[in-house]
Amino acid sequence: MEILRVESLSKTYGEGETRVVALRDVSFSISKGEFVLVVGPSGSGKTTLLNLIGALDTPTFGRVFIDGRDIFTMKEEELSVFRRRNIGFVFQAYNLVPELNVEENIVLPLLLDYKKPDRQYIDELLDLLGLSDRKHHLPNQLSGGQQQRVAIGRALASRPAIILADEPTGNLDSKNSREIVNLMKLSVEKYKQTLIMITHNPNFAALADRIFNVEDGIVTELGGKGK
């Protein structure tokens, strides 16, 4: 079943001499439950692609369908609601809210949706992420790996269909990196979610269903264990 479809997506920044083409006519489709890895050199357009899929940015041309809906036709308010229900983000720099503790950071997307967090599910998540005994800690009392696990928890809290991760292990050592990726894979399998992750780490290729390579704004599929 198709969860994400990208149609002729293009993005250019700047004008005239400073014009930079970040993405050129990108089209692909991803099915539900797939783990997609996006690789490519720095500046190739990986982050732009991810930002566009997550509607954090608007394309110059092209469309993105999530769960059959064209996200760029939505109005800002509608998009916010759609985003918090359907897309989870994990950033390289964690981007936790420093004033909120672990548990509060995780349930934040639910609170923003005026939903009562499902206690059992949240406890399960905390358990899965190994944060049960730290749920009252503030972000600055945690290690990098722990902070990233909180960010993953936050991305998973509203059980979104798609999780977008931009180099989630970029700031972590190899042991922590593996742990994080395994955790993400485990959780997407458990909750039947789709994961699109940007990485520079070639070791993760073996775990992915599909691998996309981005170079000079052009996306090509390299294959993966799914193929």
């Binding site: 420093p98 923003l112 902070q147």
Partner: protein, 804 residues
């Protein structure tokens, strides 16, 4: 880049928006200080001109001076001008009551006497008259006419009118012509009359010291010296209680202005440093030492100050310029000597000094904090802000929706920011409330035209008939005419209610066994109709002015100030509920004090024990039926001269016409001179406070750009973000507002109760001001977050998140 400090201009240029906000903040506080201090400086210069016009340009008056004393004083090096003045008092000129005096010609200008026609009297038999008197129907004389002046107990003498001088507002209102003659003439008409010596010192002379020297060397007793206290007050040389009270009040308020300036700048710098902890950590990582970071921050402060100070100074000068322009526009002749564009060196100096001083203070602490940043902060993602370990919260989310709870939480968590933001708002409010004291002072301390102030008053000893009263009311150009009766009665009450000042003036007072004194003097009893009672409400200290209540309960209204020999003093200290016993033909009548007035708009020439106001009904009961003694007339704006002529035509010689228009206009002018500045102070403070709140909120929102981006990525909608930011801003404003109102009201109360007590201003809870402040602050807060939020929303989320 030759030096690491070259980073500063690069950084400032790269973050234009942030730099601009900091510059605005410094410029605002410099403008505040420059404007307030320049205004004070210019105000004193204007006020000096005003006081010289109203009270004369001299410093000391030595009564009963001997020739030897005058000689000694005139030869002093610090004396600019000195001359003799003889007051001959009441006399009559061609049968009309007048006031006669003699003045050395060199002092005429200092006492605002200007010869309009003819010449200053020099010979023994020459006199000079006011213009209105020359033209009055009762006198009607020309230059070179001969007039006969006789003073009580002396033989009349013939004089020649040598000149005409300008109208003196007070004499015109009293309908007593002022007659000036030469010193020789005065000596001839009343040999041995008391001679006063009027002294004006040179600029920069310490007058009180000079006075002491004169007193000591010439052995002059204290009571022989009179100071022109108001002039001394405006040049800052008065030690009079009232002047010292105003100096102290002013000093306190101006100190707060300085503190406000420091707070405003400190707040902005603090925000700016806090949000850049990561950048400083980064610099530390690549090898910057602590002192280098501190220098960077300090240099940044300097760069901002250098750009902000000229803007602030110019803004402050412009405000002052506007005020001087208003004053010059309203009274171009009086203020002709004031340049339109006044540059106040002290004001600008104060602005620049506070600018530099506060920036160095304001950047010193954040700079130290920046230097303390550990390099680790740069690499660990979060931990930008040190957060106090707090217990599990959750209460807020139960009461409010999540976005509002988060907004409040954001504000409350950062105690220091909350403190600074609130302080910055609070201090503006404190200033606003504090300066309101001057408004109160001005209204209470300066007599000015009130709704009931008459243009023309008619008085007659024999009384004015009901018929004439009616005919006057019917004149086309008369807006309103109202009559007043008064009587002199023996009023007695508890002897303890007489003031020491009064007892000292009248000497021994006989007190009966029941504690009631025997009145040594009569009291002035005035009847008021309902309108007049209503008008008097502005001067009510406490009690009631309700006509029906006063009638029903035999009420009387005590006037707390009394004018004796031209000096305002408090003779009685009556309280509400005190009994007053008034002797009437039908026996003694007991009345109860039901209201207390600060003052009445007229004064009696005779010294009285006290003044009482009573309703017309009670007046008739006490004093019997009687004609009006005074009819006050208010004129319509058009054709006033014609109307005055018409009125004059109806009067016989027993009725005196008092033309108070010039006096009213001059009082209004004096009030305006002060009002322009007092309201100017309040307006500048209010305006700068509002701009400061807008700027601070802007800075605060701008510093959250990235954080807000993350929130949106996590799923916060635009409306939720608005509410969150607004909740945070509102938390700052409400805390600031609350603190500001509490402290401001306390300050206001203290200033009025402790410092301005001699002006009999009563402190009341400033409810209207407080409501205005709350509405304004909340409105400004809401408005101030709109534009930065719009700016953030206009940017793509990815752009915002990637901005660091």
């Amino acid at each position: 880049m030759r030096n690491y400090l070259a980073l500063v201009p690069k950084y400032l240029a790269a973050h234009k928006k942030r730099t601009d906000l900091a510059i605005i903040s410094v410029a605002l506080s410099v403008a505040l200080v420059t404007a307030i201090f320049s205004m004070l400086d210019v105000f004193l210069r204007f006020e000096k001109i005003q006081v010289i016009h109203d009270y004369g340009n001299y410093h000391l008056l030595i009564k009963d001076a001997s020739a030897q004393e005058m000689q000694a004083i005139a030869s002093r090096i610090d004396v600019e001008e000195a001359g003799r003045w003889i007051e001959l008092g009441q006399a009559s000129i061609n049968g009309v009551r007048c006031a006669v005096g003699a003045l050395d010609e060199n002092l005429a200008d200092n006492l605002n006497i200007k010869v309009i026609a003819g010449k200053y009297p020099a010979a023994k038999n020459e006199i000079m008259l006011e213009q209105w008197a020359v033209e009055s129907h009762r006198l009607n004389v020309k230059i070179n006419d001969t007039v006969r002046i006789s003073s009580p107990g002396h033989v009349g003498r013939e004089f020649k009118v040598s000149g005409i001088y300008n109208d003196l507002a007070n004499m015109k209102a009293k309908a007593v012509p002022g007659v000036l003659m030469s010193l020789d003439g005065a000596a001839a008409i009343k040999p041995g009359a008391e001679l006063s010596y009027i002294v004006l010192f040179k600029r920069g002379v310490k007058i009180l010291n000079a006075e002491k020297e004169i007193k000591d060397t010439l052995k002059i007793a204290d009571e022989r010296i009179q100071r022109n206290e108001r002039l001394l007050a405006v040049i800052g040389q008065s030690k009079h209680k009232a002047a010292v009270e105003i100096y102290t009040t002013g000093a306190i308020l101006f100190l707060i202005v300085l503190i406000a300036g420091v707070m405003m700048i400190y707040n902005t710098f603090n925000i700016s440093v806090m949000e850049r902890v990561r950048q400083f950590g980064l610099l530390r990582c690549i090898g910057a030492s602590r002192s280098q970071i501190r220098k960077l921050v300090e240099r940044e402060g300097l760069a901002i100050t250098l750009r902000a100070i000229p803007i602030g100074v110019i803004a402050g000068v412009i405000v002052t310029f506007i005020l001087s322009a208003i004053l010059k526009f309203y009274n171009s002749s009086l203020f002709a000597s004031m340049p339109l564009f006044v540059i106040s060196v002290s004001g600008i100096g104060a602005g620049i000094a506070t600018g530099f001083l506060t920036v160095s203070i304001a950047s010193f602490l954040p700079a130290r904090k920046a230097a303390m940043v550990s390099p680790i902060n740069a690499v660990t993602g979060s931990g930008d802000i040190k957060i106090s370990r707090s217990k599990k919260r959750g209460l807020l989310t139960k009461v409010f929706r999540v976005e509002i709870a988060m907004g409040i939480n954001n504000a409350v968590m950062k105690k220091k920011t909350l403190f600074l933001m609130s302080c910055s708002i609070a201090i503006s409010i404190i200033l606003f409330l504090g300066f309101q004291v001057f408004v109160d002072f001005m209204h209470a301390g300066m007599k000015t035209t009130k709704p009931y102030t008459p243009d023309i008053s008619l008085t007659s000893e024999q009384g004015i008939s009901e018929g004439l009263y009616k005919r006057l009311s019917d004149i086309d150009g008369v807006k309103k005419a109202y009559g007043r009766r008064f009587a002199y009665v023996e009023a007695a009450f508890d002897a303890a209610r007489l003031t020491e000042a009064y007892k000292k003036q009248v000497g021994n007072i006989e007190v009966k066994d029941n504690g009631i004194f025997v009145p040594p003097e009569n009291s002035w009893l005035i009847s008021y109709d309902r309108n007049q009672l209503n008008w008097a409400k502005r001067d009510l200290i406490d009690g009631t002015l309700d006509e029906d209540k006063l009638n029903a309960r035999n009420g009387i209204i005590a006037v707390m100030t009394n004018v004796r020999k031209g000096v305002t003093i408090n003779t009685v200290n009556l309280q509400l509920g005190d009994k007053v016993y008034i002797k009437t033909p039908a026996g003694t009548r007991e009345l109860t004090v039901m209201g207390r007035l600060r003052s009445v708009p007229f004064r009696d020439s005779k010294p009285n024990l006290s003044t009482f106001i009573i309703t017309e009904k009670l007046f008739t009961e006490l004093a019997g039926e009687s004609p009006y003694q005074i009819i006050d007339i208010q004129l319509k704006k058009r054709n006033q001269e014609q109307t005055v002529k018409e009125i004059k035509g109806m009067l016989d010689s027993s009725i005196t016409l008092h033309d108070a228009r010039q006096k009213n206009a001059e009082l209004d002018q004096a009030f305006l001179t002060m009002a322009v500045f007092v309201y100017g102070f309040v307006a500048v403070i209010a305006l700068i406070s509002i701009l400061n709140i807008i700027n601070t909120m802007n800075t605060s929102v701008a510093s959250k750009t990235r954080y807000l981006g993350v929130m949106r990525a996590v799923g916060m909608s635009g409306a939720q973000m608005d509410k969150m930011v607004l909740a945070e801003a509102a938390t700052y404003s409400l805390t600031g507002c609350l603190a500001g109102c509490v402290l401001g009201v306390m300050l206001q109360r203290a200033l009025i109760a402790d410092l301005l007590s001699s002006f009999r201003i009563v402190w009341r809870f400033p409810l209207a001001q407080i409501i205005l402040i709350w509405i304004l602050t909340l409105l400004v807060t809401a408005l101030s977050v709109i534009s930065p939020l719009k700016r953030i929303k206009a940017k793509g989320i990815s752009e915002v998140i990637g901005s660091l």
